[in-house]
Amino acid sequence: MTLPSRSDLALLRRWVAARIRLTLRNPRALLFTFVFPLILVTVFSALNSGDRVAAMGDAGGKVPFAQFYTPSIGIFGLASACYTGVVLGIASARDAGLLKRVRGTPLPMSIYLGAWLIGAALTGIAAVVLLFAVAVPALGVHVYARMLPAALVTLALGAATLAALGLAVASLVRTADQAIPVAQLTFLPLSFISGIFYPLQGAPDWVVHLAHFFPLFHIVNAFDACFVPQTTVGGWSANDLAAIAVWGVIGLVVAARRLRTEPVTGDGRARRGLPRRDAVAGHVSRG
């Protein structure tokens, strides 16, 4: 029994808007998603001004430092909003009993969680747009119109995958206290080996192989390629996009399974040593 889907879309829009509004009131999210990338790009571009780096390997030739660094750090902001933000946000919402509150209302959990994902993705994309809005005039970064469609698709797919993985990780950790180290320890080391802070050229093979396994490298690589004119046709990186999509599906499947089998954990019962809800599968007679 469902209500008309038009009202569900209105409901989703309303929750996405609220989600974004609440994220913008969160100082931690503002700092890591919007401010920190701006500082990184400005400071490091000043320190390395005049340097040229081989952002896409030898085939791409060398580009000015800011031309490599701005899209890379953009992905850093995107991951902060979509991955870290979703892991911490949903884990603490569950800890605080917010998911339980939602479960007691007619709001479908899919709309509530969907609003988290869409809100995080839109916030992350806005952070990238803001970064370019500063970097293009201030640092002379070039945006190529013919590669813009590929850049936008890569950004959207990357945001969706990062948010889906954030949801999956949030569904796997037990408490919000665990979520902070788990989110940082999965994201930060990967950001170092995925070519965000410096190109991967010259790294040991095993580091490259490790990086290639995870999605972050592919998001960075595909997005960077959209700003290096010589590399690919129109900036499209089919292999990277496929790898990103696979990780997104994995994230969604894990999250869906976990949230279905363990729907209302995290109301604080586990920590107080009380019986876990749904510990015993039971049946109510449908009399």
């Binding site: 917010l98 339980k100 007691g104 209302t105 709001l107 209302v264 109510v284």
Partner: protein, 321 residues
Amino acid sequence: MIANSLAVAGNGRPAAPHDEPAIQVAGLRKSYDGVVQALDGVDLQVRRGELLALLGPNGAGKTTLVEILEGHREADGGDVRVLGFAPGRREREFRARIGIVLQEEGLDPAITVREAIELYSAAYPHPRPADEVAELVGLSDRRDARVHTLSGGQRRRLDLALGIAGDPELLFLDEPTTGFDPAARRQSWDLIARLRALGKTILLTTHYMDEAQHLADRVAVIANGRMIAEGTPDTLGRGAGEAAVVAFRLPDGVELADLPLPPGAELEPRERRLFLRTTTPTRDLAPLLAWAAERDTELEGLTVGRPSLEDVYLQLTEEPT
């Protein structure tokens, strides 16, 4: 279920005759890890428009019972119907018709009172206007305050606001006034009484006997996973043979054995106050008053009272020693 689906197709509501109870529970069982028997065959009926107070010591099974009725948990066995639905299936239509005020439900700390009321009621078919709801719970002047700036009592009132914002016909209130100052509590009682007057069905769990006495049409007491008593706040416990408590101070120089009283009177030695629980206070008092008049003795502090709900509750839930 087929009958239900057909009726739903007709008018969006399941087939529920108006005289069908709002809550109907029979032989409800629930155990945790197959060991702890939280509910051991509970029967309960709550009529539409009735306010039932559910009392019981911590760990008696109150929370488990209420969470099964709300659809948060599934029972191991027994029948449970709430507004004609099987709550364990958690149909959206069911959730649109109930309101839940629990004790440990979170809220985004940065959301304002008005935003929370509007957002969390948006999925109900007929939400009440946010300003009206804020007014009802006495949060009008805090409408634009963020949740993390609210006091504990104000947070609790916001929980109540979110419970009623969707205008549900059945409301679950889990200790709604815990932590309130007396004025806020009176205000909440007025609100709950007003909701009841609007014909809402309310299931209230509370630790405050005066709350149950003040608000409830009927009281049910649960202990060790079983319903051990139920009735109106005034009649509860009469079945146990207790209509009245006679009390007075034992005159100086008189012993308990000197008095013409039926057996069972208890003496509280420090104050020398004597208590007699009886179903026949008039008959029991007659010889006593004659005895006192004969000796021209005044029975200081003589009272004949009904046991309070608290007395009855404490007696009912007393652990056997």
